[in-house]
Amino acid sequence: MTCKLMDASWSTRKLAQFPEDLVLTISNYIMYGLSCTQAKLHGLPKLGKLFPHADIYRWLSYGNDGKHPACDHSYFGRREFSFTLENDIYVRFQSFNNAVDMENSIREKCPYKIDIGPVYSVDPAKRHAYAQSGNNVFAPVERELIFDIDMSDYDDVRYCCSGADVCLNCWPLMTISVKVLDTALRDDFGFNHILWVYSGRRGVHCWVCDGRARRLSNEQRAAIADYFRVYKGGENNAKKVNLTGPVLHPFLARSYTDVLKGFFEGKLLASQNLFASIERFQKILEIIPDESIASELLDKWQGNRRSSISKEDVNVVRWEQLKHVLQSGKQKAQGLRRCVEEIIFTYTYPRLDMEVSKHMNHLLKAPFCVHPKTGRVCVPIDPNNCDNFDPTTVPTLSQLLEELNMSSMRTESEDEWERTSLGKSIKFFRSSFLSPLLKSCKEEMESVYNSKVKQSKNALNW
């Protein structure tokens, strides 16, 4: 291994001084092992690669890279990859025959960002050749069911940050989205192979990889997205959540009692100070359809300026008062009782980017890319342990660089990442996602093959 130690104090300090685009170049250099002239210019030694090419290849092959007679060897080659290159040049419809092919192309083209698209009926790089035959054979045939949740869609309910920023006060909104969706995808839809990934800055991505999910039509995808759609945005729509009917659908009821209610009352209320000022509680009062109740509460809260007698949190006190008024025996109207739930759903229920999930041909950033703006790696999130996921401690580029420097004397291992804090993430990816997935792919392949063999045998006998 040609990895030479460099001055450990170099990385963070120097990286911070560089202009953004050079940091990007260096990030490629480190992640994908590029031989990049700029990096050489600045005295970086050859560092090798951190991006787990081989794992990504095995994942997206879904068992078709094996020796089983039922393997479809064209499968991986029909997958679209898209690269974002320097100066925001976007190259779509890249395809690769194997892992080496993919690795070389990434190394050569230096993408800042790698997106993964669908598997097409034919090799997407050769789509023009097929187009000439006139039958319009070029169409997506398989695609993971994907979800994209973005914190910037929550700007009307968080007061700690806005736009692209996140902190530990608002991040739990993502955590509960993971919980609500993960449970429903498994228990309601019966999916098993689900990968959650931190998007590198302000959100999460979800890849549902079961064969059944990959083969869904656009209409079926839209149906699932609609099943999850409670929050109806639109800038001119005053009421974003409308819950009708005397009871909630079991999915909503479960999400509410198991996740949303506890989170809203136990955490969000205080962490976002939802009732601390008039602008904030007025927003909540607007959700109440009965104006007299809303103005009664408004008067009450405007009058007492955080009476010092009460030691209790003002948010909790006011929330209890609101609940009391809405749920007291006087309020016969179903709409008012339901209003407490509507407030909680408005503030906490996952806000999905619907369009991403509805169509097969939507692209989504590959896991383990480095986010160009934050330098953070898009690492997987363990849904069973998502409460402990902290976006502010996700490994960054400069951190990885430092770790490589610190450790390169000690070991000489095959994979660079094993010596960095990325190791934990890649191990998790392999053990919790990749190996169970490949096991079930193999089983599925086996059973499809056996039934085909049986069929043809029967045909022969007959």
Partner: protein, 451 residues
């Protein structure tokens, strides 16, 4: 005649459904006039369904509408004649509507709706008969299984409305088979299965109907039906088929027509005089925020293209706004591509058609979005304010809001048009560009009259 219901004995007529699954084309003698007349009658029914759907009619209203349309156009004194007419007209329209993706899509969705509401009108016995004709592999769940999920099934039934009475007959099907029930959270879901109540099987059957018809349409098209019939027939039928497919879909406004060019200096004046509310709102928001999200850029951009804004002008227009917010360089890098794309200058180089009302009404605007149909997606208060800005008030405002409440969004838009222009609009609004053209026509006439 090889129709699926060949096993039916005449004695069963009272029980057996009058619904055909259209599995194979009839081997019937048809007079040429009937060939065309039957098809036109069926088109009237489908067109009526299309109108009803785009007005956002509820299922019960649609059921009523479909039965009225059917009675008005397809009834015949002789039941067997009526069935022939049903089958013949269906197959004629298949020939007409198999020929392009857009035609197929429209036909598929209208025929499926027609089937769905006719199915709902059938008696439970004949519904079950039809189900068995589809040969669906699903069995009703047994009592033991029912007991384990009973509470959840009840919960779902109550969540969808108080009117639905307890159903005891459920089918357990892969959720992929009933997308619309999943989308509406109208079924209990467990480990990939949806529990479909007997009164919901219409969804299951309609999905099946749709997928069969979809395959059949592609086949009909790829077989090039004209090559399978005799030359003499071809010459007689082709003109009818051609005429049928063009007359009834309405123009798609893919090419700017009468007022074929507009220039940038007129755009503000045109926006306030002739843009429908959905476009005017986007336009105002763009001027105000110097930014629109993707859905808004598409909806407004394609509209402007069809209104006659040339590509160079469109780029200049969007740039002048966006550069105030994101800078000229970012505009060139990130946004100009999609504008050229809309004009068919990038990517797969399709000249994209502007959105029609039904597409805009069924869009799903999200956080920060301004696109969609204001009549559908605005709260009443915001809509009232927006209409006030257009100068609509008093009686007409109340009428419009009334239509909105009963979900007749396109009618509401038509009423707005009439209030703004003080002229009637008999055809109704079903395309933003139609609104624009009709408005320009009126304004030009009055201009000519005054000069």
């Amino acid at each position: 005649m090889e129709i699926v219901r060949s096993q039916r004995k005449p004695a069963d007529a009272a029980v057996a459904p009058a619904l055909s699954l259209y599995r194979s084309a009839p081997a019937l003698e048809v007079r040429l006039e009937d060939f065309e007349l039957y098809a036109i009658d069926r088109l009237r029914v489908l067109q009526g369904i299309s109108d009803g759907l785009s007005r956002g009619k509820k299922p019960q209203e649609m059921e009523k509408l479909v039965s009225e349309l059917w009675r008005a156009h397809m009834r015949h004194q002789d039941p067997s004649e009526e069935m022939n007419k049903d089958i013949i007209s269906h197959f004629v329209l298949r020939l007409v509507y198999c020929r392009t993706e857009d035609l197929r899509k429209w036909f598929l969705s209208m025929e499926t709706s027609l089937f769905r509401y006719r199915f709902r009108l059938e008696s439970p016995e004949s519904q079950r008969l039809l189900m068995s004709e589809f040969q669906l592999p699903y069995k009703a769940i047994n009592h033991a299984e029912f007991e384990t999920v009973k509470d959840k099934l009840n919960q779902v039934a109550r969540s969808t409305g108080p009117s639905s009475n307890a159903e005891a007959l459920f089918f357990k099907v892969p959720f992929e088979e009933v997308p619309e029930l999943v989308a509406g959270r109208r079924v209990f879901m467990l480990k990939g299965f949806a529990y479909v109540a007997m009164n919901q099987v219409v969804s299951l059957v309609a999905t099946q109907f749709r997928s069969n018809l979809s395959k059949a349409l592609v086949l009909t098209n790829s077989r090039k039906w004209t090559s399978t019939i005799r030359d003499k027939e071809k010459n007689r039928l082709t003109p009818i088929v051609e005429a049928l497919s063009t007359g009834y879909l309405g123009p798609d406004y893919s090419q700017p027509k009468e007022f074929s060019e507009i220039s940038l200096k007129d755009i503000d004046r045109l926006a306030s005089s002739s843009f429908p509310l959905c476009m005017r709102h986007l336009f105002d928001k763009l001027r105000e925020n110097h930014h629109l999200k993707h859905g808004g850029r598409m909806q407004l951009g394609l509209f402007l293209k069809a209104v006659g804004l040339k590509l160079e002008d469109a780029l200049a227009f969007w740039k002048s706004e966006f550069s105030q917010k994101v800078g000229a360089e970012r505009f060139d890098k990130e946004y100009s591509y999609s504008i050229r794309h809309n004009y068919g200058k990038e990517g797969k180089r399709t000249d994209y058609t502007p959105y029609a009302c039904h597409k805009i009404i069924s869009s799903t605007p999200s956080v920060g979005d301004h696109h969609g149909c204001p009549y559908r997606h605005f709260s009443e208060e915001n809509l009232r304010a927006a209409l006030g800005k257009m100068g609509v008030g008093g009686r007409s405002l109340d009428d419009i809001l009334d239509k909105v409440r009963s979900r007749h969004y396109q009618v509401a838009c038509t009423l707005t048009f009439e209030a703004v222009h003080a002229a009637s609009c008999d055809s109704g609004i079903n395309h933003p560009n139609q609104y624009f053209e009709a408005s320009q026509k009126i304004l030009q006439t009055t201009r000519q009259a005054t000069s």
